[in-house]
Amino acid sequence: MKAFAYFPGCSLEKMALSYHQSALESARRLDLEFRELDDWNCCGTTAYFAIDQLLSNTLSARNLALAEKLELDMVAPCAGCYKNAYFTNVYLKHDADLAEHINEALKEDDLHYSGTIQVYHLLEVFANDVGVEEIKKRVAQSLNGLKVAPYYGCQIVRPRKDHEEVEDPRYFEDLLSATGATPVNYQLKTRCCGGSLLITSRKAAFSMARNLLQNAVDNGAQVIATACPMCQVNLECYQQQINQEFGAKFNMPILYFTQLLGLALGAAPKELGFGSELVSAASVLSQIQKKEAGK
């Protein structure tokens, strides 16, 4: 039973509750233990970087220190939280002065950062740690050919961490294939959804989301699977407005990959937060159940 320190991030409390529920349910079914950090704080997302980078690092450092207390590697479902925690961890490990400065601040909460843990994103934990073979074995209800657009988004993939493939990663597709779904060729899979531009530069964000939706449609996707709450909101919650703006007719369900994974592992839709979508996922569920009936 592999255990991780689980850092949900602000969005998973309410806005992306279905991600939280489906993540924990999928983890449970794959013998992963996710222990939530006690009293974690916001990671600061991109907004804090616009004010002060050290401030952002301090916020993430507190969460890292909390994870170190559990003596477990950290896993974050949100791409933004993940990126902040990952790079703060890297900087603190390599810069002793910075670590000293931040540890002074952490003393206020009786915490200390020692650089003893690693940070992972939820997608890589399922795709790499658990692995495709293991998932295949545990599939109880194959998604049988459901056409899924694997939307990585930007913060999981970039900035480059080691020498890994950043332009054409494949682990999301492999994960989806393991569940029995058919990942479509999604050229814009690592293009940005606009992130917080949704609020500050709405037109730009709409344009970016529209391109992503159109590309998914062009490639025959029935659903877009995401691994970040911001991406999910940008792609799903504003489809009406995007349709208005561009005269389009998008009606694309946007689900978290853990919801699809959870279904494949045999969980019921309710256990995976289905029902809170603005764009109905009924077509996805009926597609899977239809195949089920036909089996």
Binding site: M15, W40, A47, Y48, I51, D110, T200, S201, S207
Partner: protein, 191 residues
Amino acid sequence: METRPSFYDEISNMMYATHGEPISTCIQCGTCSGTCPVVEFMDNTPRDLIGMIRADLKDEVLASNTYWYCASCFHCNVRCPARIDIADMMYTLKRYSIWRNQYPAGVLGPTFAETFVKMILSGGRSYEPVLAPAYIFSYGMQGFLNEALTATGLILKGRVPVLPPRIKRLENFRRMVGHVVPVSNLVGETE
């Protein structure tokens, strides 16, 4: 004779935390701008902006909406042949523009960022309802109504928090942040 650092020097020095190469090594190839997903909404392309910084065109740079439109998707970073941390440069300009209180009229980024920071300090976690006033009134009537509609939809689906969050050790958290930035007068207090 006293010399003040040039705008180019200031920005280069502020990119202290970047793990990329200095912007002096930019060969103006345009890969960043060719890659940027937001570039069509920017006054100047990222490459152009680097050129302007190197020419010490401080006012023009700060008046350009480019850096506040950057989504920090890091695509330019991974493709730049000179390995410049362009996203970090954009963040540097964001910070500089808030510090100098000099940015284009109408950009919502500064207010949004400041509001966000204050929001986190007040509870330790995000609370969307508090953010809305920071931007919603600049959307115009149609935009306001659309946003209200979307928000209503989300509320009905139970996706918007009702009560503001409050982490248990909020006081410790605030004191911790105080080591980095004075909490009481966090932002908006410029020269």
